[in-house]
Symmetry: C2
Subunit: 387 residues, 2 copies
Amino acid sequence: MSDDLPPNPALLPAGLRDLLPPDAETEALSVEQLMAVFASHGYERVKPPLLEFEDSLLSGSGAAVAEQTFRLMDPSTRRMMGLRPDMTPQVARIAATRLINASRPLRLSYAGACIQVQGGTLVADRQISQAGIELIGPDQPEADAEVIAVASQALASLGLTRVSFDLTLPQLAPMLIEEAGIPAAHRPELMRALDRKNAAEVSHHGGALAPLLNELLLAAGPAARALQVLQAASLTPAARLLVDRLEASVAAILARAPGLRLTIDPIEFRGWRYHTGLCVTVYAPGRHEELGRGGRYLSGGDEPACGLTLRPEALLRAAPGRAARPRVLLPPDVDATLAQSLRQAGYATVASLSPHAELAAEAVRLGCSHVLRGGEAVAVVPSSSGD
Amino acid sequence: MSDDLPPNPALLPAGLRDLLPPDAETEALSVEQLMAVFASHGYERVKPPLLEFEDSLLSGSGAAVAEQTFRLMDPSTRRMMGLRPDMTPQVARIAATRLINASRPLRLSYAGACIQVQGGTLVADRQISQAGIELIGPDQPEADAEVIAVASQALASLGLTRVSFDLTLPQLAPMLIEEAGIPAAHRPELMRALDRKNAAEVSHHGGALAPLLNELLLAAGPAARALQVLQAASLTPAARLLVDRLEASVAAILARAPGLRLTIDPIEFRGWRYHTGLCVTVYAPGRHEELGRGGRYLSGGDEPACGLTLRPEALLRAAPGRAARPRVLLPPDVDATLAQSLRQAGYATVASLSPHAELAAEAVRLGCSHVLRGGEAVAVVPSSSGD
């Protein structure tokens, strides 16, 4: 390779890509479908900007994603701005400033692109779409339940009806370790062992706490069984409060969304950075990829809030495909009213800019499924022998 | 003011702002409405990333917007990336690379946010939404006409039926000045005089060309009259070719979209930087703000193309308002099927998370228009005397 070769203009930076037809339309329509379900449950849309001053973007819950934030200097103020890596802290900022006087519960929704400095290990994307809701004000099991039930309905509207919601309490393991007085020097290895769900290593590093931790590790699974284990476990009062709240939230979720697939992984904590209570990860059946995640946090530093953010790129991979829109090639002298009625009937009309002797062949060349003949759209069949 | 005061988290950099309810939803629904009209005419959506390597983002037609581009270093490759200030060069890149083998005419649509280093004089926004189409391949008047006709239908779908399309030939004035041999030292002042439409200054700096230039300045206005002046004017052969093509495009536009409000400003050139033929600016009636602009250019350096980009923020200001969605407050024990039927009927349902003795008062507090009573949504009237 020579340095003199011009760079390949088709080459995009790692983790950034072009969505081509039909994926770009499918993604956009899916996002609007999610937003329509959110709106039908009273969630009102906000649209924060792609860039903000670094100190507002990274304050509060935004601090957790500081190292994933690209920074730029604003030439007019010489202050640093950041490209948002996550929209939830922006929505929390709006709730705590411009909408501080709006009635609570405040229900907000949002959709947009975020940019992260580095892609993940499973998915390398650095530009990430988000579509989510935040329920700001109430700190009740019914609020947790609403967010999960509304997200579940939004996913169902895309044909994703068999998703599972995996609940977790990211504070539980650190709290047990703190309260058991595990020496600080042992904690990183113990946390790593818990993260890897390695029972032998947990036994090795967990001291007197090891039996309980391994019991909780084994509890991971369907919600009813996990709750039984948690109820029977010997917990400190503070841990018991967390578990009681989890139980109340599960009851509220099942009251609002009977039949939802709920699992609990009580000591999962990885990736939860600014959350203060129940958290949830959404998975498609049989897939390892997350469709979304969310949980309880403090908006503006002190206001209870709970939200869930879906990942449209992951939904695009998991959701059933959409039927392609039929395309009909029109001759140049087509009647405008007829063309309009075809569009209203769901066709994409493709205008010929010049007359063609063989309109059907031209339709095939242009990827049209239909051609206009005798005032009607007639399906064309691609010739297998060429012309 | 003290340096010790924490920065106001509500403060956003100049030209960047939060869209709040209901504007954020109105803008998003408007964009999807435009995209649906584009799709119904066979334009297929692409979604390029927000960031690209600088050398691909700023090559070709992108060079014209280089000084409006924020740059960032990609930490993994140490190469510079740019935040897109305009999507058209990205769509041209896709047409010239990933879609180089797709059949022509290639019809592409796109919608997304762009970031510019500096806001404009009329509108200070630095984050700009775009929604547009590009028709790549054909170099015919019918292609110019299609782009304008489809944009006009898209605007009409938002209730913007009385917009005007102002056509211009940004090459005409520079060509006449070049061919007339106006000394290079006089050209900047002459161009400035033309830009300001100052006939006295044009006479002063235009030499033997001044009468023709002032004739063309006066020609600006409704298309039919402007074309008469252009036909009668004494033009060089190259300029005559440009004008003949303009005339053919006007005929094709009116054939495809009879009744469209067309004006011509034959020597307007400002702001057209990578265009090679007919250009157009879209204005709402009685407003100075542009709703969009577009024109003919070379995609990938050598392929004829014509496009038009609408500005959703400007459409939001110009389009008639949408009716607010009715919101109904539901009691906590509402029947799920009833709630679902209300959403299907177009209501946003707002769930009470706890019982309320005065559901109607709570509905008013939450900005709901309706409350559920006897299984039906009943309008609530805000009390004027408080409670």
